[in-house]
């Protein structure tokens, strides 16, 4: 298209000649794109921050836990990952730098923790001194669980900071006593604050020695534990996962063809599931808001039709100078597309601004983040709207009779 640049220039000129009207024309598109970008940037920002949190865990850390299959459920088989499994993995699987159990006494906010007349509900976990958690798992006061705590089944506890507020404990809670399962536990450490991830408080947790937790269950009970395994070399993760699977299948007497009754997950896999959900939400939201782009497009068509009528004489002049139908069509079409794209740019900026503001106001969102595909999508949509809704006015302009157009009184 030799005159594309020229059409572009005259389209910009026409837009500049009516700045306010052009702006109002694109308002629909601006709002639609801004809404899409705000929603997407918030959800993606949220996902981004979760991703970073997971990344702290390291991609070479595997978590092994029990996973009841449908078959197990119907046969009533009790599915567990046991300390014996841990022993077997430790002895038989090479390439592991670190292995530790975590005994879940109470998940999330389901375990009662008492202090005086106050009761808090927390996740209660039994861990060894070898437990690594994530990169932010360290005490800001006191210490973590020691080997002798574990061996001696001591009643000590390391607490997350939510417990301090919920139980009205002094800021330095080390040395306080808490009651769980009818027993008194001495606070020996307070963990670094992790904050919220997706509305999920990460600090309403308490950790007691693994041995203590096991004895609380009753020494005769075989506990269902989670096993955390650190692989020496991230490249070895698939191989180690394979060997762990072999060992556990043998330990659990799973016949060939039967499903595993456990899962070996990397943080990335956990994250993958999480991100799938978020992406689905993003798409749905984006789609809903995208419909409003249609409304924006109708606005553009409306004003372009007015513009064609207003500029009838100009079209007549261009035709008298030798403009063909397609020259006129292209010029008006480009004008519509530029208007839409301008709306897209302004909407992008506005949407990101609104997203950032909301992210500031609501800490759970942890910042706005606009992925490149959302930008492309927004522009693609805006351009499409421009073409679709610009074509009718442009065709009208192109089809004008030159004489009648020239006679038209401006």
């Amino acid at each position: 298209m030799y005159n594309l640049a020229e059409s572009l220039r005259s389209a910009l000129q026409a837009i500049r000649a009516h700045k306010l009207r052009s702006f109002l024309t694109t308002l629909g598109i601006i709002i639609a794109v801004a809404a899409v970008i705000a929603v997407v940037s918030l959800i993606q920002g949220f996902s981004h921050s979760v991703t970073n949190t997971f990344a702290n865990l390291g991609s070479n850390v595997l978590t092994i836990s029990s996973n009841e299959t449908d078959e197990d459920f119907f046969s009533g088989k009790i599915v567990k990952v046991t300390p014996a499994d841990l022993q077997a993995i430790q002895h038989e699987v090479t390439g592991i730098s670190h292995i530790s159990p975590r005994l879940i006494l109470a998940r999330f906010g389901s375990g009662a923790v008492l202090s005086g007349s106050q009761t808090a509900y927390a996740g209660i976990y039994g861990i060894t001194s070898r437990y690594e958690g994530n990169a932010s798992f360290y005490p800001v006061m006191g210490r973590l669980i020691s080997p002798s705590d574990d061996l001696g089944h001591r009643r000590v506890v390391v607490i997350g900071q939510t417990l301090i507020t919920d139980l009205n404990l002094p800021k330095d809670a080390v040395g306080e006593y808490l009651q769980m399962y009818g027993q008194w536990f001495k606070v020996v450490g307070v963990l670094k604050k992790l904050g919220n991830i997706g509305g999920q408080d990460q600090d309403d947790r308490v950790y007691i020695p693994y041995g203590t937790a096991h004895s609380l269950l009753g020494a005769a009970t075989v506990p269902d534990i989670e096993i955390q395994v650190t692989v020496n070399n991230p490249g070895q993760v698939p191989a180690v996962t394979g060997r762990i699977t072999q060992v556990l299948r043998r330990m659990h007497h799973i016949k060939p063809g039967q499903e595993d009754d456990f899962v070996v997950q990397t943080p990335e896999q956990t994250l993958g599931t999480f991100n799938q959900v978020l992406n689905a939400i993003t798409l749905i939201f984006g789609g809903i808001v995208g419909i409003s782009l249609l409304v924006g497009g109708i606005g553009i068509m409306n004003i372009m039709l007015v513009s064609v009528t207003e500029r009838t004489q100009e079209i007549g002049i261009l035709k008298s100078l030798g403009a063909r139908r397609r020259d006129i069509l292209l010029q008006f079409l480009i004008e519509a597309v530029i208007l839409s794209l301008l709306g897209g740019v302004l909407g992008l900026i506005l949407g990101f601004g609104v997203g950032s503001l909301i992210a500031h106001a609501i800490p759970e969102f942890l910042g706005a983040y606009v992925p490149w595909w959302a930008v492309l999508l927004a522009f693609g949509f805006a351009a499409t709207v421009g073409v679709v809704f610009g074509i009718a006015p442009a065709a009208k302009a192109a089809a004008l009779d030159p004489i009648e157009a020239l006679r038209h009184e401006a």
């Binding site: 005159n3 020229e6 000129q13 000649a17 261009l318 008298s320 030798g322 403009a323 063909r324 030159p402």
Partner: protein, 239 residues
Amino acid sequence: MSDAPLLELRQVSKRYVMGDNILDALKDVNLKIAHNEYVAFIGPSGSGKSTLMNIVGCLDRPTGGEYILNGTPVAQLDDNALAHIRNREIGFIFQNFNLLGRANALHNVMQPLIYRGIALGERRRLASQALQNVGLGERLHHLPNQLSGGQRQRVAIARALVGKPSILLADEPTGNLDSSTSKDVMAMFDTLYRDGHTIIVVTHDPNIAEHCQRVIHIMDGRIVSDKLNGKRREARAGV
């Protein structure tokens, strides 16, 4: 001059139908114009001068008869082909100048060259040359509303000439100008004629027609007389 006429109209008519009203703006017009003629269409308002000029300029189509331009029958051509002819063969000059209001003088003159696919640099060069030729070399970047009527018409003349058309068509070119600027514009046409251009001027003013070498009277859609202008002919012969 070559023997074959530049353009020829045979029994050309233009009929407007508005509901029950029929208006014949042109009736059986026969006309030949050769290269480098300087022709006036003169007649009272509403006689059909502009209609005739628009047909000659391929802006409009006749409803009857034949129009042959440079040996090509024009009636059968489609819109694109007519646009192509307007772009290459015709230079229009209108009473109300018909400049593009948002474009400066230079861009107004560059506009027809866009449709020829001439590159930007060359367009710019040709357009500023054309403006220089009409004495507007200092006004390239003025918008139409920053120019006087006479200057606007000169921009329009530069725009009509920039593509080196076969015919220059001017519809009441001095109708919106005062008498002294009118003289300037007509003097410019006289020079163009002497330089070998073919010019048709539509007017109702005998003083304007006086400049032309051939004067065609139109009344009620018909050619009522077609005479060579004695004074002009002598003047020309004397050159």
